[in-house]
């Protein structure tokens, strides 16, 4: 790994070690400079009170120029947040107001957040991402999956960075397609997927 990436990660790690993490965020595992695990917990009153979720960070040699691949861990008995407690609200008729809030986490743990994609900035850090995701969960008003969850999870690549999301402000986003292996041209898996998504949203 490029030395810039590992040096930068070592700095972040030693800061976490000496200063500690913000409230509700804990380092679980950082055995190397490729994969780190954190737990995050939303403090105060919210839908996710007393739920602990695990976040996985994967770094490549271009970090911090390129964003880390961040997702919730859904194996080993851990669950991605936004797990419906009641019968799935997806069954209810689409009502625009109901879809406005934070349908950002797919059931495979992938997250649709613009700071992990086109709004990533190399001045951000691992802790900054954790705090952002924590506040994303905290501001969530309703527990439900993204509308295109099933379709996305069927086609999702292993690395969420290969997904091309379309971000609509901070409120909602649609999965558009998956970047092909050579990353330059985007293969649209299913054009109708996007059409459906928009139709339901509008």
């Amino acid at each position: 790994m490029a030395s810039i990436a590992s040096r930068r990660l070592a700095k972040e790690l030693s800061e976490i070690k000496s200063e500690g993490c913000p409230v509700g965020i804990n380092l679980v595992k950082a055995d190397d400079f490729s994969t780190w695990w954190f737990t995050i917990e939303v403090m105060g009153e919210s839908l996710y009170q007393s739920e602990v979720h695990t976040l996985q960070f994967r770094f490549d040699a271009q970090y911090p120029i390129s964003s880390p691949a961040v997702q919730f861990v859904v194996t080993d008995g851990r669950q991605s947040p936004v797990h419906p407690v009641r019968p799935s609200p997806l069954c209810s008729p689409p009502d625009s107001s109901a879809y406005l809030f934070a349908q950002h986490v797919y059931s495979n743990g992938h997250i649709c957040a613009s700071i992990l994609g086109n709004e990533w900035s190399p001045v951000l850090s691992v802790i900054a991402v954790c705090v952002t995701l924590q506040s994303m969960l905290a501001s969530c008003k309703k527990k439900e999956r993204p509308i295109d969850n099933d379709r996305y999870v069927r086609n999702a690549p292993d690395n969420p960075k290969k997904t091309q999301f379309e971000y609509h402000g901070a409120l909602r986003c649609i999965f558009v397609g998956v970047l092909s292996a050579n990353a330059s041209d985007m293969a649209r898996i299913d054009d109708t997927a996007m059409q459906d998504g928009i139709n339901v949203l509008v």
Partner: protein, 363 residues
């Protein structure tokens, strides 16, 4: 958390603002102020972007190169441009000075921390009464000095006996004699070397007539000092690309993508190096070494992404099933595309080549 492994990772010497004790936040701020927000290291070849934020030249250049369409400042998201990067030499001096001072200040800060821990009350008492009058006196003294300064130095005129350079013939002349000297065609004060001055007059005229063209030629000749321009690689043929690389003294081995990547990286390294002050610059040999190191790293990275054989074996049956499922569709698709157009129009693509729809796939 496996703390042993963690400690091993942190064993490498890494300096950062949190090295300073927690109760001296100002030192932490100072230390982070001279660091690049991208790499977290001390700024090397600091450049300022149009919004005013400061980064390592190399860091911001590689960030811009990955931002596909519009380059944005990583901090404030304002649009920036690679051509508008300006070396921040003042910042570079600050960084150099701070690097030298840091170890000393670090020991002082840590020592003070210990002192504060042992005798905190005494120190406070000492500080309070003494600090306020000092502040007052320093204020008055600074006022005085600011008053006195203009008298001494602000008038740009040198003293009458001071030796100055004649603006015409560049000879050393006493300031009081300067006007006389110029009125007499630069001959009064130096009566002896009359012939040389007439000669120098000639050179002077040639200097006046030619300096610009000369300077330009020089600049073109010594490309050592020039930033390399951005190249649109799509317009270059392989040979032109190779010529460019040989012109720069770089290797021309590898395929086109490798050549482009090499040229891009070199341009970045070269330009970033020029953003440093001349005393801090690396030699070309060092830059070539760095380029090689970077290419090695890329190669090893590429090797890692080979397809996992075990994955292929495990999912072999599924792959076969999928292939089988996809097969029957192919002829249908082919037959629809190969159905002849009603008129005798032959499909022609943008290059003017005739598109041949082959029916070979049909069973």
């Amino acid at each position: 958390m496996n703390s042993n492994k963690l400690n091993a990772l942190l064993a490498a010497e890494i300096d950062q603002p949190t090295d300073f004790p927690k109760d001296s936040p100002s030192l932490r701020e100072l230390d982070s102020a001279v660091r690049c927000p991208i790499c977290g290291e001390y700024l090397t070849g600091p450049v300022t972007v149009s919004c005013g934020h400061c980064f390592c030249s190399m860091c911001i250049r590689s960030t811009i190169s990955t931002q596909s369409s519009k380059a944005l400042c990583p901090i404030c998201k304002k649009s920036i441009n690679e051509t508008q990067l300006r070396p921040n030499l003042g910042m570079e001096e600050v960084v150099t000075a701070w690097k030298l001072a840091r170890p000393h200040i670090l020991t002082l800060a840590k020592h003070e921390e210990e002192v504060v821990v042992t005798q905190p009350a005494k120190k406070k008492r000492k500080l309070d009464p003494s600090s306020s009058p000092q502040a007052g006196s320093s204020r008055t003294s600074s006022l005085e000095s600011s008053k006195s300064e203009p008298d001494g130095t602000s008038s740009g005129e040198p003293k009458p006996d001071a030796i100055v350079e004649c603006p015409v013939c560049t000879q050393s002349v006493k300031y009081k004699d300067l006007n006389k000297h110029i009125d007499n065609n630069c001959t009064t004060v130096a009566p002896k070397p009359l012939a040389p001055t007439s000669k120098s007059q000639k050179t002077m005229w040639s200097d006046i007539m030619q300096p610009k063209s000369k300077g330009k030629e020089k600049d073109r000749g010594t490309s050592e000092e020039d930033h390399l321009p951005k190249v649109s690689y799509d317009t270059l043929k392989d040979k032109q690309l190779r010529d460019k690389l040989t012109g720069l003294g770089l290797s021309t081995s590898g395929e086109r993508p490798a050549l482009i990547a090499r040229h891009q990286r070199w341009t970045m390294l070269w330009n970033a190096n020029l953003d440093r002050s001349p005393s801090q610059r690396q030699s070309k040999v060092e830059l070539v070494k760095e380029l090689k190191r970077w290419e090695e790293e890329r190669k090893t990275k590429k090797k890692k992404i080979t397809v996992d054989e075990s994955h292929l074996k495990i999912h072999d049956s599924e792959f076969k099933r999928l292939v089988a499922a996809a097969r029957p569709k192919a002829p249908v698709a082919a037959s629809t595309t190969s159905s002849p157009p009603p008129s005798s129009v032959v499909p022609v693509d943008s290059d003017g080549d005739v598109i041949v729809v082959s029916d070979n796939d049909d069973p």
